[in-house]
């Protein structure tokens, strides 16, 4: 009997949590367009976006290098190594760019957001803000949310571009694929609106989901040291699962002919 009760309470808590996070998203997202908030927003863009640049640049470069190497060995078996450019660019722009950026973003910036907001709650900074009449949703959550939503697509674009340059380095400069056919096959097969813009749309969706989860987990964390650590773990786990699951759905809608 006790177990069944606990199951029911757990389910109610979870549904309530989804609802609370939705309300929080609505209330904080509305509160952004104020001029005084712009400085806060810039500062969060710096912390969320600019400080994530290094990991994005390095991992993008290495993923491009690996794609070039693997693609070359597979494609040269079929005598079509000149299709390397197409393979590298489509893989990066459609899939790996948005997805890996979102996963890295959840680990690098999402966990930091959760820990920061969770600690603010544990040290009762959020409560004291409410006491002096400042809405913590607007002051704390909104700038962080928008910074995440805007910087994730930007990071994904940079990731894809750096990855393609990495693939070109391996394919053209080291393995000797013809440079002209590398770029030419890429330009013939990559469509700006179908491939690149759809990739950007994907990463915008991932940006909303990842930052939403991170901010809510921090805001709803238990105000103890254990609660903050659980919330941080949850952020990374939930964000990764949501990104991978949503990626399948978005790919099916955008590229899979399910429309």
């Amino acid at each position: 009997m006790n177990a069944i009760q606990r199951l029911g309470r757990d389910a109610l808590d979870r549904v309530g949590g989804i609802g609370a996070s939705g309300i929080m998203l609505a209330r904080s997202a509305i509160g952004v367009p104020s001029l005084s908030g712009f400085g806060l927003f810039t500062h969060q863009m710096y912390r969320v976006g600019v400080l994530s640049l290094l990991i994005i640049l390095v991992s993008g470069l290495f993923i491009g290098l690996v794609l070039g190497l693997q693609g070359f060995t597979i494609l040269s078996k079929y005598g079509s190594a000149q299709a390397l450019g197409t393979m590298v660019s489509l893989t990066l722009v459609r899939e790996l760019g948005p997805v890996i950026t979102a996963l890295l973003f959840a680990g690098r910036a999402g966990s930091a957001l959760t820990a920061e907001i969770g600690l603010m709650k544990a040290t009762e900074q959020l409560a004291s803000m409410e006491m002096i009449g400042v809405d913590p949703l607007r002051r704390i959550v909104a700038p962080r949310f928008w910074a995440g939503v805007i910087s994730l697509p930007m990071l994904a674009i940079i990731f894809s571009a750096v990855g393609i340059i990495g693939g070109k380095m391996v394919g053209v400069n080291w393995l000797g694929v013809d440079e002209g056919s590398f770029w030419n096959s890429m330009q013939n097969n990559v469509n700006f609106s179908d491939d690149i813009l759809n990739g950007v749309i994907k990463s915008i969706v991932f940006g909303v989901v990842c930052t939403w989860i991170a901010v809510y987990q921090g805001y709803a964390a238990k105000p103890t040291s254990e609660g903050i650590s659980t919330a941080t773990t949850n952020t990374v786990v939930y964000s990764s699962l949501c990104v991978l699951g949503l990626d399948f759905i978005l790919t099916a809608v955008m590229f899979g002919g399910l429309s």
């Binding site: 930007m154 940079i158 571009a161 750096v162 469509n191």
Partner: protein, 176 residues
């Protein structure tokens, strides 16, 4: 001073993103190529287009002079109708030119090659290629070859000599 550093960083971040987006747009997707530079559209009917796809190139003597814009089925003739856009500078294509579907490399992409005719009237907007040559389909070629072998008068001789040749190669005496 700290906000100033942050602003500078965010500014660099935005510039980097715009640069990356330009790279993706121009260098990767070749957006400039697909910008409408003008040109006239002509059509051609094909029995079989093989693997031809929109945005495939149209060439004359191997030089790109246009792009395929649309491929569909002609509802009256029930064959493939390929619409392509040719650059305005290429106004010297006579109306009896031939459009053939060729393959780039052994298993590369397919494109349209134009070989000029001798007529005095030139192609213009809405013209149609009268002479076309469909894509070569490997299966058709092989079946044609086998069929001609089977019906040839010396059909019995060819299979008989084949095992002997194989045996000679296996023994290391000769090569194909």
């Amino acid at each position: 001073m700290r906000t100033r550093g942050a602003e500078f960083g965010v500014g660099m971040f935005i510039i980097l993103t715009v640069a990356a987006l330009f790279f993706l747009a121009l260098r990767v997707s070749g957006l400039l190529d697909s910008v409408d530079k003008g040109g006239y559209t002509v059509t051609a009917h094909f029995q079989n287009i093989g693997g031809l796809a929109p945005r495939a190139k149209v060439t004359l003597s191997g030089v790109v002079i246009g792009r395929v814009t649309q491929i569909s089925i002609d509802p009256k003739r029930l064959d493939a109708i390929v619409t392509m856009k040719i650059d305005n500078s290429m106004n010297q294509i006579s109306t009896d030119s031939t459009a053939s579907i060729l393959t780039e490399g052994l298993i590369g992409g397919q494109y349209i090659g134009v070989s000029l005719g001798a007529d005095d009237s030139m192609m213009k907007q809405g013209s149609e290629f009268d002479n076309t040559q469909s894509a070569l389909v490997l299966e058709d070629l092989i079946s044609k070859f086998l069929f001609s072998k089977a019906t040839a008068p010396d059909a019995a001789a060819a299979p008989a000599s084949a095992p002997a040749a194989t045996a000679a190669v296996a023994a290391g005496k000769s090569t194909f």
